[in-house]
């Protein structure tokens, strides 16, 4: 497997996401994540595509 090529945005996005949580308690971060999921889901706005993403996210939890 060749090393993945990061998009010019990847590092910026990750950094900004971490910064968004700076200084919050775990509970506050969890609530922020919930709001974020809702906002992003609204941006995607495609129930079929979202369901695929939900399944992928869930897969790790189910092992």
């Amino acid at each position: 497997m060749t090393a993945p090529t990061p998009s010019i945005y990847s590092d910026r996005i990750y950094e900004a996401l971490m910064a968004t949580h700076t200084g919050l308690s775990d509970a506050e971060s969890a609530a922020l994540n919930a709001r974020l999921v809702l906002l992003l889901a609204n941006e995607v706005a495609d129930p079929d595509r979202l369901t695929e993403l939900f399944v992928q996210a869930r897969a790790a939890a189910d092992g």
Binding site: A31, A34, R35, L38, N42
Partner: protein
């Protein structure tokens, strides 16, 4: 002003002293569904006998929200205008989280419809109006109060009913029997039919109060819904206005509420004061209910047909109980009349197919509402609260808030439909529009109708009622140049551009159950 419950007369039925001729239709239950069924059949010349174990209209407001499509059906049955006149048309809705208003909305009705999105009117008024309407058909509707059906036997080509009265029992034979005996349906229990679905572990207290002073800032009626109000910690609450200065308050009590204790006056009064403050009020009616979504697998069992709550129940938020039941009536009336006049019994099967689909849609919507209102885990509660939080600033999040979705007519995926594409597609219910100084719904409901629109060749057919519309609102809603075949219940059977008589005949055959 409280409702005065008149007692209907018990008249000893002829069956007590002599064998009655076989009845074409017996209707068990004189609630809104049974009464509407009798009136619908009477408008088609079909006689029925209505058997009810009681002799007063329903006690308590019960079903109060009547949706636009239901009002349009009631218009056809002759009580819609009276309901509209008496009912409360609310306009402003407010949603609160804690003590803060998250947002409000104005339900200004779209113009060009005879009826608004919905009205609030106590069930007892609807039943009273329907009884009075039924009495306008003395030769066709035989209303029998304090006539309780206690047994029945299906002899394949007829049903024998055993009926108990204050003067003893008697028996009648019927070609079809319609079980309109509500959610606890003794008929369904007698037949041992499974009534399966989802039970929600959540108790709700509903209280009707009479209050002279309006809690609302203006004269307009409003609907207030609270998530987690401080006056009722961690739960939800709803305030709705009904006619006669009666207000409906719904309070979520949680899964572990002691139902008997919660109904005691000394427990109810402080809860109501917490909502309305120091305003004087009187309690008119109170009840506790649990959410349940369930339906029969089949609504049709040979000559016994289940209609309304006896066939399906949903949780009340979203107003899909009474409204779903009236749409059952609308669907069954013309089909049963046609079959009694010689049409294919396949039409009755299509009642089952279509209304099972509608019941599933209602159950899906009402289960979604219930799940939003009663989060089952800390994570669900967190998402719910963050939706409420975002809703203060984001329009999209308001659309996620689910305290009951408005009941809309089901778009039927039906064996009676001829496939086609149009602004109002096959299976959908008609959309009202101005027509000839009145309304389109008045011109097209009740019989098969060929409707031509705008520049389409004027509908002309010997065996069908033909209506042409050039009204610009109607043309915009139905599409210029289209021709529609509408069923007697106002649902679209087929859509055409320039149909030949053979196209129309074929679609009509299909719509009457004569073709696959």
């Amino acid at each position: 002003m409280r409702f005065d419950y008149p007692a209907f007369d018990y008249i000893p039925p002829p069956g007590l002293t002599e064998r009655e001729p076989r009845h074409q239709v017996a209707i068990i239950g004189a609630g809104p569904i049974g009464l509407a069924m009798a009136v619908d059949l009477a408008t088609r010349g079909i006689p029925s006998v209505v058997l009810d174990d009681n002799n007063v209209v329903s006690v308590g407001s019960r079903a109060i929200c009547w949706a636009k499509r239901t009002l349009e059906i009631f218009d056809r049955l002759g009580v819609g205008e009276r309901m509209l006149e008496k009912g409360v048309t609310w306009q402003v809705g407010r949603v609160f989280h804690g003590d803060d208003q998250i947002y409000d909305f104005d339900l200004l009705p779209e113009t060009g419809h005879k009826y608004p999105a919905f009205i609030n009117l106590q069930q007892y008024y609807v039943e009273q109006y329907l009884v009075e309407r039924a009495r306008e058909f003395p030769d066709l509707i035989d209303l029998r109060f304090r006539n309780k059906v206690v047994g029945h036997q299906d002899f394949d080509d007829y049903i024998n009913l055993t009926v108990e009265t204050p003067d003893g029992e008697y028996e009648i034979e019927t070609t079809y029997t319609l079980a309109c005996d509500g959610a606890p349906s003794p008929t369904r229990r007698r037949m041992g039919l499974p009534f399966t679905g989802q039970d929600f572990d959540e108790n709700f207290l509903i209280v009707d109060i009479e209050m002279e002073t309006s809690p609302f800032a203006t004269k307009l009626a409003e609907r207030w819904f609270w998530f987690e109000p401080t006056f009722h910690k961690g739960q939800s609450a709803l305030l709705h206005k009904q006619p006669d200065n009666i207000y409906r308050i719904d309070l979520q009590l949680g899964p572990d509420a002691d139902v008997t204790a919660e109904l005691a006056e000394d427990r109810v009064l402080p809860r109501i004061r917490a909502v309305v403050g120091d305003t004087p009020f009187k309690i008119d009616w109170k009840s506790i209910y649990r959410f349940r979504c369930a339906r029969l697998e089949n609504f049709v069992h040979n000559r016994m047909i289940f209609v309304g709550d006896s066939a399906h129940v949903v949780s009340p938020f979203g107003a899909r109980g009474g409204n779903g039941g009236i749409q059952d009536v609308d669907n069954l009336g013309w089909k049963l009349a046609a079959v009694l006049n010689g049409a294919s019994p396949a039409l009755i099967d299509s009642y089952n197919t279509e209304r099972v689909q509608a019941a599933d849609e209602n159950i899906l919507n009402s289960a979604r509402t219930t799940n939003f209102m009663t989060p089952k885990s800390a994570t669900e509660a967190m998402f719910r609260n963050e939706v409420l939080c975002l809703a203060r600033t984001h329009e999209f999040a308001r659309r996620l808030i689910n305290a009951g979705r408005l009941s809309l007519p089901c778009a039927l995926d039906s064996p009676l439909s001829t496939p086609g594409k149009a602004p109002v597609p096959p299976g959908a219910a008609m959309i009202d529009a101005p027509h000839d100084g009145g309304w389109l719904l008045e011109a097209v409901q009740g019989d098969f109708t060929l409707l031509s629109v705008g520049s389409a060749r004027r509908a002309d057919h010997a065996d069908l009622r033909c209506v042409h519309t050039s009204d610009k609102t109607a043309v915009a809603r139905y599409g210029d140049g289209m021709t529609y075949l509408l069923r007697p219940d106002g649902h679209v059977a087929a859509v055409f551009r320039d149909p030949t008589p053979a196209d129309i005949a074929s679609a009509q055959k299909r719509a009457t159950g004569e073709m696959p």
